[in-house]
Symmetry: C2
Subunit: 328 residues, 2 copies
Amino acid sequence: MKTIFFKNKPVISCAKSVGGPKESEGAIGEFIDVKLKDDTLGEKTFEKAERQILYTALSECINSSGKPESDIDAVLAGDLLDQIISATFATRNFKTGYFGLYNACATFTEAMILGSVLIDGGYMNNVICATSSHFSSAERQYRYPLELGCTRPPQSQWTVTGAGACMLSRKGKGPKTSCATVGRIVDYGVTDVNNMGAAMAAAACDTLVTHFKETGFSPSDYDLIISGDLGTLGSRILKDLTWEKGFDIEDQHVDCGEMVYNINEKEYQGGSGAGCSSMTFCSYFYKRLKEKKFKKILLMTTGALLSSVSAQQGESIPGIAHAVAVEC
Amino acid sequence: MKTIFFKNKPVISCAKSVGGPKESEGAIGEFIDVKLKDDTLGEKTFEKAERQILYTALSECINSSGKPESDIDAVLAGDLLDQIISATFATRNFKTGYFGLYNACATFTEAMILGSVLIDGGYMNNVICATSSHFSSAERQYRYPLELGCTRPPQSQWTVTGAGACMLSRKGKGPKTSCATVGRIVDYGVTDVNNMGAAMAAAACDTLVTHFKETGFSPSDYDLIISGDLGTLGSRILKDLTWEKGFDIEDQHVDCGEMVYNINEKEYQGGSGAGCSSMTFCSYFYKRLKEKKFKKILLMTTGALLSSVSAQQGESIPGIAHAVAVEC
């Protein structure tokens, strides 16, 4: 069984999001809590800027919870940079416990699953789940130096500059996590490092179909089925693949990557990055859930588990997706 | 509270270790399950070799458990390479769920804590915790190209080529995890990337003192207090720091890094790497626990959370340590 149920339904007691200038002007910009005007935050490097973005999300989350820092038992966090330095250096400022996680852009729900288990099982009282990404730090690590000004192919996505942090608590008010399906690694042999959506779609389909089969739920049991950052092309592949397996998610499916920017921009397939899903969930979706505009959603973030070394050594791109059901 | 107790005491139902040629000839070599004669395993790159080592540990662990792969709910794994590609590509061969973790050389006990929570809380029946490292893949990623033949300073450690994988189960026989203390990030401002022991010792002290204070245990409640890979210098710093805080661990303390090699070799301070503690625990300590030669130990792996980018951008090295009590 890959699906686990949370009997005590951990509460998402607060959530805060930070977005870069481009993200703040995008389709969900008005819901973002901290809108940046400068994506360097005055720092000398993009890596230092990214950790400031994540630190801001963590701080805002703790502040808005009304709890002292000493009440927060652990931070579960990750990002896309080598050795997840954004998560580490952002969390270094706090005295909480720290679990560093890495499942690429699927890290946010990985954190929510493990965080929910820690809360639901009574091991901890409050934990924070958080991820970040930055267009400029990711682009130069995974692809080309920014100064080269390389042309982006039409199947590419635009890494979101942003972060999201949410607190899971034993007590309090807010939307709750009710169950989760843990993803497995699925590799369909995609080798194009500019085509993350195609690399991740098969894993997303696997997790989604497993979720429906193990829970007995159908797509219509959810108001929304939200994938992390498949983008436009990847979303289409996901819908086709799940339809072939007997589940039609056309009416419920949305993708954080597809909705984060205005469609007339140059990011082609939409947004991506570990911060794409966390920023979108912690802004638009969390606020809509609190308003009860959505009653039950399935958040499934998706990760492409490559590195620049694995790609250069001729490896294909393994994908993974973890799903968490949230209801109010 | 950073310490959590496992009421149902998850069983470490099996454990398997793989060691490189140098490790197999070391002080605990006779306890290693799979002794390699060639650290490339016939692969073209050291990165591909490392994932084969981890894959071997995972396979051996599953085979020795007597359980079909379908009974394994998840693998919790990590390694030192960018985007933890060893863990990802090794786990890609299995259909289990996957949680990718990164806390550098503290990843093994990070996995054991989260794995124990998944088992103890009744969310899963069997999970595998595993980590790996490889001297040649780590050295060229973190420091210099191997071909340069750089002189190693006396405070340096030798990254272990090896892996360890252990299975945590709800049912079965074997040593059990009884409680754990989650580490927080501690940074004392060490910037020497060749002096990992000093960078990690303060974090190890913090976790250990927290453990004693929160549990009420004293050092003599354990047969052994095992740090992950502080090496000789780092171990001395840890013992001094904890003594200053009122806890004398001199009689119980051993360090996986200090004991993994014969002392007449050129690795100066001893071994390090995410595979150092897992290989040592899954070979020597696990076998001794099964023989009841040790009745209660505290395994505390230690991680230096730097990246080559963070070091080059002038950052100090944050440390972390997670501790798990194992008893038979």
